[in-house]
Symmetry: C2
Subunit: 246 residues, 2 copies
Amino acid sequence: MRNIRLVLQYDGSRYSGWQSQKHEENTIQGRVTAVLERLLGESIELAGSGRTDAGVHALGQVANFRTESDLGCAELVKELNRYLPEDIAVLSAQEAPLRFHSRLNAARKTYRYRIWNSPVHNVFERKYVYALDQDLDEEAMKRAADRLLGTHDFRAFSSYRRTKKSTVRTLERIGIERRGEELRLSFTGDGFLYHMVRILTGTLIEVGLHRREPEEMEGILASLDREQAGFTAPAQGLCLVSVEYE
Amino acid sequence: MRNIRLVLQYDGSRYSGWQSQKHEENTIQGRVTAVLERLLGESIELAGSGRTDAGVHALGQVANFRTESDLGCAELVKELNRYLPEDIAVLSAQEAPLRFHSRLNAARKTYRYRIWNSPVHNVFERKYVYALDQDLDEEAMKRAADRLLGTHDFRAFSSYRRTKKSTVRTLERIGIERRGEELRLSFTGDGFLYHMVRILTGTLIEVGLHRREPEEMEGILASLDREQAGFTAPAQGLCLVSVEYE
């Protein structure tokens, strides 16, 4: 028995996410699993580092699966790319220890949220950005971001789903960087709750629009109440950049 | 009467080109004209610097039109971008002398052809590149390109359409540059015949694959025969980068 670790890239535009609740839907996990099963001739259980929502993209999603096949990793990458649709790519495959699990062992993740801050359409990257024409006060956004860093209960920044699991996470870094007409937010932490990056982004955008003050962040965190945080920024601007392991 | 010069960007994927022969089709020119007519309340004739084929993109297409409206150029850019589809953008509008014509006065054009030279899909830019997995001998391609520069009758490098017009053009520069897994060809000249950049690219690719020798270029030019040149590279890798005027 081998355990193979894959790094995947995808354009999430036409998928209902990495994995969906309903089995009949068109998911990235489903597409990759189908090709793996055809190539390897066995039933495959593909575990991802985490779900990405419908419409969310990935530059470096990590997944793993066990197999009894002895197909080499280089050959596997080649064959997967041959049969996968053009909007999914396998960047690498490598042998992992049998105990390796892409979700349970993930130590740190980085997401990026791209805001296209211009009245002129971004013709070539329109599906990977959120177009927002209004002026954004980046300095205010940075001050608000600083107040969100550290270990907190981020329940207010997640879409409610009944859970007994901890909603405490550590947000290590929020980067806010302007590149011409694009404002690029990046989030690094030990894990993210359901919709957390999109709600953090929506809240920071509201600060940038002067609809909220940076000083409100502590109160939102303390409230543990989703209604106190900002809107959920659209999926299409979000991308899972990388997953790190110890 | 004013003459307005526009610089346009578009993703050509879902259009039947800048302008099509058949009036009922979905063209860039048709889309922009429709929005202009609605904004300005007059009948508009929009002249482009040249036709781009179905599926070909533009970073800097130039067009012009005459109008009796006194709408300011900044306002015009804003309103056009508001009503145009997301895959067409107007980068600028400026007053031009009444005699200015975007096609007749064009002195130099630059096109770019992007080859994605990898077995791993280019997930995010797949609609703007031609995916070709095989090894390409760039040095051979550069030697062939050098033999195509200068003033020649490029009839062999154009799709035949009965014409009494001259098929002599001056090719000033062909750049062949590798950026990681992408091979980027750029072509600058005083004008290009129908399909000329795509046939030049197809021929250079055949040299890169060692199916032709660089030394064959002079013979192909001299033949004036389309059958002697290489294949027509797919539209999706091609982009009109810029149009220059005296």
